[in-house]
């Protein structure tokens, strides 16, 4: 997602009391936020509630937005907090992802061959759901939200090198789960 100067200017206006400008920010970002939450939670209804919550928080905490700070990174920080609070509140309710973490497969087929041959997106979706949330999050931010590593570093409040290591570990773990699932299916 390209960071636009206009977003920052609009957010400054919102902060200074022009709440009608929230509509512009909503129209620009609500779809991306919805996809972010859908990939994280696997639940459309919950994802929409979280999108709603993010824009509510942006209004409520608008005074904390600092001049010149990148809006997208700030928005995703708000989004992460909304997600963590939302998950905490749902603790005793319906599990978000229904898929369980697969058991390791007994035989190991050639991984790259399987991926090329099958392109099984259903398995990939299940593998993504089975990934621990901190790994899923870094993949969602880098692969689906098209954020650059230094932007992700801002959001996760670490340095870009750490983000790159986390991306490597996450994609590797995802591949392993995928091939385990594919192995189960093949056996």
């Amino acid at each position: 997602m390209p960071e636009t100067r206009a977003d920052n200017v609009i957010m400054q206006k919102v902060r200074d009391g022009d709440l009608a400008k929230m509509a512009v920010l909503f129209e620009r970002h609500h779809r991306a936020l919805f996809r972010y939450f859908t990939r994280l939670t696997g639940n459309h209804g919950f994802a929409e509630d979280l999108v709603q919550d993010v824009f509510f928080r942006i209004m409520k905490y608008r005074a904390t937005y600092r001049d010149g700070s990148p809006f997208t990174s700030w928005m995703y920080q708000v989004a992460r907090n909304a997600y963590l609070d939302g998950v905490q509140k749902r603790k005793n309710e319906t599990p978000l992802f229904e898929e369980s973490v697969p058991e390791p497969a007994s035989s190991e087929p050639d991984p790259s061959e399987i991926l090329r041959r099958r392109q099984d997106l259903g398995l990939l979706r299940r593998a993504l759901a089975a990934l621990p949330v901190e790994k899923r999050e870094v993949l969602v931010l880098s692969r689906f939200q098209n954020l650059k590593y230094d932007q992700i570093a801002d959001i996760l409040q670490c340095d870009a090198g750490t983000v790159k290591v986390r991306v490597y570990r996450a994609i590797k773990a995802l591949s392993q789960i995928f091939f385990e699932l594919a192995g189960e299916k093949a056996s």
Binding site: H44, F46, K89, L124, R143, G161, Y168, I171
Partner: protein
């Protein structure tokens, strides 16, 4: 470049963010390290496959929900705005002046009201007041239904009893709560609140769809009761699909069979 250094560059390799010099070093390493090359290719294939996953879209209800909450928030801020502070020097004079004027206007108003006593005007004012109260109730209901806390959302459902039956925005919010609220108690309360709207074909249709998609057996049972109470014969196909499904909770299935026997 060592194997460990390659791992540090994989993220940039996947994102296509390697500089020319780094890309060349990586390719040189791959030329004599089959393990690293194979790992990079596998990870790149997974990375590419992720891009093929469908881009999901939010429902049409999200946009109106946002604009309603924005409006409610703005009105809330406006209502909470403090009165401007007057200069203390003129304060006592202004207050005396205002008090005098208010008393005079009140007396004039009473006299004029008594003399003229135009009933038609009275009715217009009353209708306007009722409109305003309805609007306020609608805002409170919609705002409560969007709160984080489940107990606040339950209050919102309770408030929904006070709005008019023709209020489509509250109706939409209640239907949304039945299908999407994360809390089962809120969903159950919303089903009860929808009894007032049961004559609407849109409500019936929406609840029939919700019945099949629900993940909570309790809500499904409440929906079946709703359908039987309201003699919704259009629900037969939704109930039949529950009866046939092997994934449905046993109690829900029994309830669906009972519902079918009542409606057919």
């Amino acid at each position: 470049m060592t194997c460990d250094q390659v791992k540090e560059h994989i993220a940039d390799y996947l994102a296509g963010a390697l500089g020319p010099a780094e890309a060349e070093e990586l390719n040189e390493h791959f030329a004599h390290c089959a393990a690293c090359k194979q790992e990079a290719e596998t990870l790149a294939a997974t990375w590419e496959a992720l891009g093929l996953l469908e881009q999901e879209q939010p429902s049409e209800a999200l946009r109106p929900r946002f604009y309603e909450s924005l409006e409610a928030y703005r009105q809330g801020l406006q209502a909470a705005k403090p009165e401007p502070v007057r200069h203390r020097f003129f304060d006592w004079r202004l207050r005396g002046f205002q008090l005098g004027w208010s008393a005079a206007l009140l007396i004039v108003g009473l006299i004029v009201g008594q003399w003229l006593g135009d009933r038609r005007h009275g009715r217009t004012d009353l209708a306007r007041l009722q409109d305003e109260v309805q609007h306020m109730r609608q805002l409170v209901t919609l705002s409560l239904l969007q709160q984080q806390s489940a107990s606040e959302r339950l209050r919102g459902v309770d408030y929904a009893y006070r709005v008019q039956e023709s209020d489509t925005q509250v109706l939409t919010a209640l239907l949304h709560a039945v299908s999407h609220d994360p809390n089962v108690n809120v969903r159950l309360a919303a089903v009860d609140a929808l009894h007032r709207f049961a004559d609407s074909p849109a409500v019936r249709g929406s609840l029939q769809q919700s019945l099949v998609k629900q993940d909570s057996p309790l809500v499904q049972i409440a929906l079946i009761d709703f359908m039987v109470d309201t003699h919704d014969t259009g629900a037969v196909s939704a109930l039949s699909s529950l009866e046939r499904s092997s994934m449905v909770n046993k109690n829900v299935k029994e309830k669906a069979v009972w519902g079918l026997s009542q409606l057919q």
